[in-house]
């Protein structure tokens, strides 16, 4: 009998141990995780207009120079320098768009209305191509050395998932085809949250890349806002996998909202994960991060979508941006 009590004691002991060993079950899904254990507490957001909070965009200097890029720690090779000179020679305001031919796959809704963008100007130069072993994504500068992107671009997500190999990351601001006019940077730290890394929950599919350079001081960065985006126009631009490393964007408006996600009909494609969902109001303000095409049912089946910048998301992005 004593033996039975001992076993029961062991079981209850195990339950008690389990209860203390799994505090993260009650963790907020927005709890930050990083590839190297870097801990970052959510920042206190500055009050903006109304009930929303916002962080201002920065266009960077009006004239970008090679010297400025080098000073900020950007890698520039001969090809990048030549392309930089070519783009610099284009007329100011050189965002030339062209509609692609209709008929594509996956998340092109109706005719393909994506437009190609040159990257000479802000804010196109503040959007980035992210490459790593085995994949590519898009992202957007949100500070001197921080890129916002989708969580799955930095971590494969869920049990059995892992951070993507940080050493393989290359971040190309304003990449334009074969050339990188603003060079590239490597990654120092990858961030996402428990809701993505632990559970693959698409409602928490956001993250960030901390860079080994301060290229944002040159190419600028996007603003962010938690404003309720009902009926907002939506611009989604990034680096679709069916195009040769060029930047493309589509325009639409917010079609539906859930508590944590925004839905729109902008044409997107694999590779555009991590693109800012933004609109222009005295500068580019991001209010979402694109991550998914059509799947499942309901709004998910008819609209492309991504995480909204609700307060918890905004605060984490701000904390990642402000982290040393």
């Amino acid at each position: 009998m004593k033996h039975v009590y001992s076993r029961l004691g062991s079981v209850f002991g195990a339950i008690a141990l389990l209860a203390t060993a799994t505090p993260a079950f009650s963790q907020s899904p927005h709890t930050v995780v990083s590839n190297d254990g870097t801990e970052v507490a959510p920042a206190e957001a500055s009050p903006g207009t109304g009930s929303a909070t916002s962080s201002a965009p920065s266009p960077g200097p009006s004239r970008v120079t090679e010297q400025a890029l080098v000073t900020e720690g950007v890698f520039l090779d001969a090809e990048s320098r030549a392309e930089f000179q070519r783009l610099a020679a284009l007329p100011d305001g050189g965002e030339y768009g062209v509609r692609t031919r209709p008929g594509a796959i996956e998340t092109i809704i109706g005719p393909d209305t994506r437009e190609r963008l040159y990257t000479i100007n802000y804010p196109t130069r503040a959007k980035v191509l992210i490459t790593f072993t085995g994949g590519r994504c898009s992202g957007v500068m949100i500070g001197p050395n921080t890129v916002a992107t989708a969580g799955h671009c930095v971590h494969t997500g869920g049990p059995g998932g892992a951070f993507r190999p940080v050493a393989s990351f290359r971040i190309y601001p304003g990449r334009d085809g074969a050339a990188s006019p603003y060079g590239f940077c490597t990654a120092r730290t990858l961030f996402t949250v428990v809701g993505w890394a632990g559970a693959s929950n698409e409602e928490f599919d956001y993250g960030a890349v901390k860079l080994n350079c301060n290229v944002g001081n040159v190419v600028g960065w996007f603003g962010m806002t938690t404003a309720n985006p009902t009926l907002f126009p939506t611009v989604v631009g990034g680096y679709p996998g069916d195009k040769p490393l060029t930047q493309w964007q589509g325009s639409d408006r917010v079609r539906a909202l859930s508590v944590r996600q925004a839905f729109y009909r902008n044409d997107t494609f694999g590779g555009m994960s991590g693109s800012a969902v933004w609109y222009d109001i005295a500068g580019p303000y991001m209010f979402g991060i694109h991550a998914y095409g059509l799947h499942g049912a309901g709004n998910h089946a008819v609209f492309n979508h991504g995480v909204r910048l609700i307060a918890a998301v905004f605060n984490n992005l701000l904390a990642w941006r402000n982290a040393p």
Binding site: V98, G134, R136, D205, G241, S273
Partner: protein
């Protein structure tokens, strides 16, 4: 109580899912250098992309679209072939259309059924696109 007995108790109490991840789903996530998608996931599609000459095609985008109604969410990442033209796409069990896009080649597309806890092999042989840079965007300065 020996550690093994403790683990056994915990497994019996909360199920085998926890046992597969001994440190629990709340474990700290760190050590990003060196781990890759395929090393961590046990189901999905993997294969090699070559051209008609048998040469590896690196840098091709591999795109997945669900075929089952109400299929799972697929992130809009561009999975890209790397050394030796190999690629790895972690996907949940289900039916998918896999499309390969590479500059200078015609698109390749196949349907595949991914089974639970299995990596399904799916290779592609891409035909050259006789049109010059068919996938390159045509730029028209406005």
């Amino acid at each position: 109580m020996r550690p093994f007995q403790l683990s056994l108790c915990l497994c019996l109490i909360i199920g085998t899912g926890w046992c597969a991840h001994p440190s629990g789903p709340d474990r700290p996530v760190s050590g990003g250098s060196g781990s890759s998608t395929a090393q961590q996931h046990t189901e999905g599609v993997a294969g090699q992309i070559t051209n008609e000459d048998g040469s590896a095609v690196e840098g091709a985008s591999v795109l997945a679209a669900p075929l089952d109604p109400g299929g799972p969410a697929i992130p809009e990442i561009a999975i890209v072939s790397y050394a030796m033209g190999r690629y790895q796409w972690p996907l949940r069990a289900g039916r998918y259309s896999i499309t390969v896009v590479a500059d200078g080649y015609q698109r390749g597309s196949k349907e595949v059924a991914v089974k639970a806890a299995e990596i399904t092999t799916l290779d592609f042989v891409l035909a050259r696109d006789r049109r010059t840079h068919a996938l390159s965007p045509t730029i028209r300065e406005l």
